[in-house]
Amino acid sequence: MTYRWMTSRTKKKSSDLEWPIVIATIGILGLSVILGFGFRAVTMQSRYGVVSAEIPVVQAAVKDLGFHNFEETTYDSLKDNTTAVLMTLKGFYFGDLASFSSAIERNDNKFVVPHVDNIPRTGDLIVDLEKWQKNRTAKANIPRDNVLVFVPSGDIPMPIVIQVLAQLKEHGNYARVILGGGFAL
């Protein structure tokens, strides 16, 4: 076996194109995956916010076995006159909780803010809610509530639900907005 023979053998091995093509293809695919991850990481939004909502809880007495004078306080509670807003594809309906439950058959206790060209008029809703609450305080001496129950119908897209929720909290001055599961209408 001469040195020349070995060299020609190595050249033959190097000129075998079967593996280099496979490796090049896998390499390009792999590189594109790595670059894809990289681009995704670079282009991802870095600032996120939260529109918060709440689920009401039932107060329960906790046994204070260690005598730490632990006491759970109630900040707000849902009552018959808590403000409720229903949102359908046609418009907003608002009133107190009783007007959508125990007194649903009455037609003088609910108010409507219709959508215009399918655009929800949240600003008008907030203004009307404020007027209604002031009127209610003057006539029936019901204090302004910081809690609002918001019940969208199932067909409302989530971006609109989130946006209305944010506007009610921000511009409507409701500290707690509760998303409702549904009313038995």
Partner: protein, 190 residues
């Protein structure tokens, strides 16, 4: 030169024979290291931000600035199924037309376990952060409220009262323009 031991001679002959034939194994060490690099890159990118790898496109809306929540879920819809994935890459899915809370048992159990973990962690460290109390949901913009309603029931079932919807907080110069776009959302666009 002939080696003295026949075993060494046969070993040398075998080695010569092996070197004469073209080898088919030589790319494998390269491939193994290449795939290890690929896995490492994927792991680093995915663990840096839980949102990477999740398909939920959230609403661009300037909400309150929040720290990353400990319990985070993305909610998306694919082929008639609602898919919920958490920041630990646990995935739950159910039909869009789900009727009973029993269909979400696995998800409810997982929520309870996550809440218990956070309670234990808070008790051991004797402090609790806002991010530990709140569940943050990155809800895809294509979803409707009826798709989200079962998740609301599941949160209530798991004893979670504080939750929020994730939004993309916009930079100040763009915030007004994009918020205007968001406010033009129509109910019939979806």
């Amino acid at each position: 030169m002939k080696p003295r031991s026949p075993n060494v001679y046969y070993a040398m002959m075998a080695a010569k024979q092996r070197l004469r034939e073209s080898s088919s194994w030589y790319p494998f060490p390269c491939l193994i290291s290449f795939f290890l690099v690929l896995l490492l890159t994927a792991h680093v990118v995915l663990s840096t931000n839980p949102r990477a790898g999740h398909g939920a496109s959230v609403l661009p809306l300037s909400g309150e600035e929040a720290e990353d929540s400990v319990i985070w879920f993305s909610v998306t819809s694919e082929e008639g199924k609602i898919t919920v994935a958490d920041n630990n890459r646990r995935i739950f899915s159910w039909s869009e037309e789900v009727q009973t809370i029993e269909s979400l048992d696995a998800f409810v159990l997982h929520l309870k376990a996550r809440v218990n973990e956070e309670i234990k962690s808070a008790a051991l460290s004797k402090r609790i952060y806002q991010s530990q109390k709140r569940v943050v949901l990155a809800v895809d913009q294509k979803l409707k409220y009826r798709h989200f309603r079962p998740i609301l029931y599941a949160l209530a079932e798991a004893g979670i009262s504080n939750y929020g919807f994730e939004t993309i907080n916009l930079y100040d110069e763009n915030a007004s323009a994009l918020n205007d776009n968001a406010s033009r959302l129509k109910t019939d666009n979806f």
